[in-house]
Amino acid sequence: MGMTKLGRAGAPAIRCDKVEVSIKKKKVLNQVAFEVGAGCLAGLLGPNGAGKSTLLRLLTGLLPPDSGSVELFGAPAGPDRLAEVSFLPDRGQLPVYLSAGEWLGFAARLYPDWSRARERELTAKLEVDPARRIGSMSRGEEARLQLLTCLSREAPLLILDEPFTGVDLLSRERIASAVVGEMADGERTFLIATHDIREMEHLFDSIVLLGDGTVKAAYEVEALRESGRSVESCYREVFA
């Protein structure tokens, strides 16, 4: 524990300000600014091509911004912050020739913050069969194994990129339950990028709506509902 020691006490888990990124002369992110408080579960919502994955690459230190600042717990993001971020990439591929159990054995040795206790608890909760070969898994099973890999670490910030793409209903529900169980102690912060809000609408504390590389709107979700709007209606208003 004590993973947040690099940051200032009370600093938000994520803070982006005036972030700009161009790829091949095209501006992919333009003046992006938002914050996610520590202990929150935030949704990064937007259609395909909005710039979500690029933004996540900045947060995970895989790409530096052209300008602007990206901070995690009050200190700049970058490759040296990888120990504090557990990332579930979109369309990530696990080695097909391994069984789930073999993969978890590698992951346990790869990540210094791996928790065998968490791994055991989540293996049961997400109903992952350790004997099963990754190559023969359905999309839903593989997604659950990827989430298991992500959640078994003790990193204080978890970033999930499209954890539901092509995942069946029951797997989606298990994934959502596992995420909730992990955040209940209020010590972990989640940012979940998705264009599919069905299983997640009730989970978010806050949402950031990203479209055409800019933040179109950001809301505290219960405040949004106080004004008689839902996450879905809001998404429609902004993107339809």
Binding site: E173, D185, H202, L203, E222, S230, E232, S233
Partner: protein, 126 residues
């Protein structure tokens, strides 16, 4: 919810454009008033409930806090959260629900230009 079990989303009807904790509070209050949740029933923890309903733990925490404020739930440190055994608190909540229902009836009557008694009589006409 049978004793020792967790809630599922089937136990609730949610409107996504109203604050969720308000709706959970109302619906659990109704379960207590109707006796579906018996006095002394131990409720699942915030974490278990959030996980089984797949809602933000803060939502469940606020729901339990609000129901405690209304004296319908009591929390004993280290033991958990229980439905109150105080008849008076449950009675108060039943009265509250009755008042809400009657107020709705009055509004329907008013929108039809009737008194509640006339509305009642009209509904009973052949």
């Amino acid at each position: 919810m049978p004793p020792g079990k967790n809630w599922t989303m089937e136990d609730f009807r949610l409107d996504p454009s109203r604050p969720l904790y308000e709706q959970f509070t109302e619906q659990i209050r109704t379960m207590i008033a109707k006796g579906e949740l018996e006095p002394g029933t131990r409720l699942p923890s915030v974490r278990e409930t959030a996980s089984s309903l797949r809602v933000n733990p803060t939502t469940v925490m606020k729901t339990y806090q609000e129901l405690e404020r209304q004296a319908l739930l009591v929390t004993y440190r280290g033991q958990g959260t229980f439905v109150t055994r105080e008849e008076a608190a449950i009675d108060r909540s039943r009265k509250e629900l009755a008042r809400t229902a009657v107020n709705q009836l009055k509004e329907t009557a008013k929108s039809l230009g009737l008194t509640p008694e006339q509305l009642w009589a009209l509904a009973l006409e052949e």
